[in-house]
Amino acid sequence: MRRLLAVIVTLVALTIALPVAAQQYPTRPVELIIPFATGGPTDTAFRIIQPQLAASLGQPIVLINKAGGGGAVGMDLVAKAKPDGYTLAATVRSTVTILPATQPDVTYKLADFAAVGAFAFDSGVILVKSGAPWKTLEELVDHMKKNPGKVTYGSAGLGTNSYFNMELLQQAYGVTLAHVPFGGSGPVKNAVLGGHVVVGAASLSAVLSVVRSGDILPLATSATKRLAVAPNVPTMTEKGHPDASLSTWMELYAPGKTPKPIVDRLSAALEKTMKDPAAVAAIEKAGMTVEHHDPAGTLKLVERENEVVLRLAKKLNLGKQ
């Protein structure tokens, strides 16, 4: 009898609770779509926080890799997913800013997503080989000014943060460089070490080992403030160019029309995860820096960066060939 009563009470409670289902969200596993293949830095970052995030949400997190189109395939899927909070994009910022701005085939845009939060970034870094005649960014810029169009720089590829950072740097200092795109930060590092290009732009996690060993000299980072792993390296913001500071931000997005209570619930879970020392330590070991932003804060940063990207893409005539 008592059991029956319990069932009835539960049923009644459920019926009352239904209209405010969002408060109960999540009631089933949440799918995080990673728009890249397994093994990449984005995939790694989310696999690191997966257990803590699941614990904070009280539901399992299922990571699904939907690679393709440099991230566009997975993002498109989320943009068109049901906005119920069960399908999210676990991605990097450039997939909602640079990708739609530079690729004519990408049809989604920033407004198709609701930012849940940013939690870590892999700083961009400008580097030269140790033993090169320049010890500071200013000395290098001087050299660039004396040899317009002659100094080569390697980026991780057109349409990557590294490329945008260097183009923004050229605008900021009024210099012209010769661009040699490579397929990722690793090859850029090799090219700088081998002396095949003068300057390299890459992400910090990929070059940290050779920075520590002293084989490569970082001249500036794109971080907002000096990094604990490289306290002597100035930031572009310090140099007065906060716009030329694109970093690889790990972010979580929901489909655009997701109700605010759900976004807030997710944001709270993400915030709690980033207070877990184990998760923070694991991310920092991977060469990234933990910095959490709530939905509003994330959106503000992303929108501002998007403006910079759109302006530059238009100027460089990218996206409309």
């Binding site: 089933r28 596993p29 397994t38 299922v62 699904i64 890799n65 060939q321």
Partner: protein
């Protein structure tokens, strides 16, 4: 032999010409400053030339005989259609259901096994592979409607 070589060369030649036509729409650049279209144009042009040469060789060749055993084309076609059907329902139906259907088709229709072994074999294989790949090896497979 000769007929088949001619046909193959002709098909490739047409493909080369089509590719050339399409590649010319891309920005060509210059020899010292190649654009996106440079390589495709060069490759398509080279393919066209080589296929033209192939066609000439095939035309002039004496008939080599070289008889090949005929293939049961209906079986091949049925397999390809079944595989495409599998691809189209895989994510909606989930791995186990789609795989069960595919295997049943192979065992029953293509191989003409009896119902019981065909059913049992398909079901068992679908489940076992799911367990091995998804659970043990952590390979990504669509769970289907029950993923809930």
């Amino acid at each position: 032999m000769r007929g088949r070589d001619r046909a193959a060369a002709a098909v490739l030649l047409v493909f080369g010409l089509l590719a050339l036509e399409e590649a010319r729409k891309l920005r060509f650049g210059a020899v010292a400053k190649p654009g996106p279209g440079f390589f495709p144009v060069v490759l398509a042009a080279a393919l066209t030339v080589v296929c033209a040469a192939l066609l000439i060789v095939a035309w002039r060749a004496r008939d080599g005989g070289g008889d090949v055993a005929g293939l049961a084309w209906w079986k091949i076609a049925a397999t390809i259609v079944a595989l495409f059907a599998y691809a189209s329902v895989l994510e909606r139906a989930g791995f186990v259901i789609a795989t069960f259907g595919l295997l049943l088709f192979f065992f029953k229709v293509l191989e003409g096994q009896r119902w019981l072994p065909a059913l049992a074999g398909s079901l068992a294989t679908a489940f076992v592979t799911y367990v091995v790949f998804k659970v043990w090896l952590n390979v990504q497979l669509p769970a289907g409607p029950w993923s809930g």
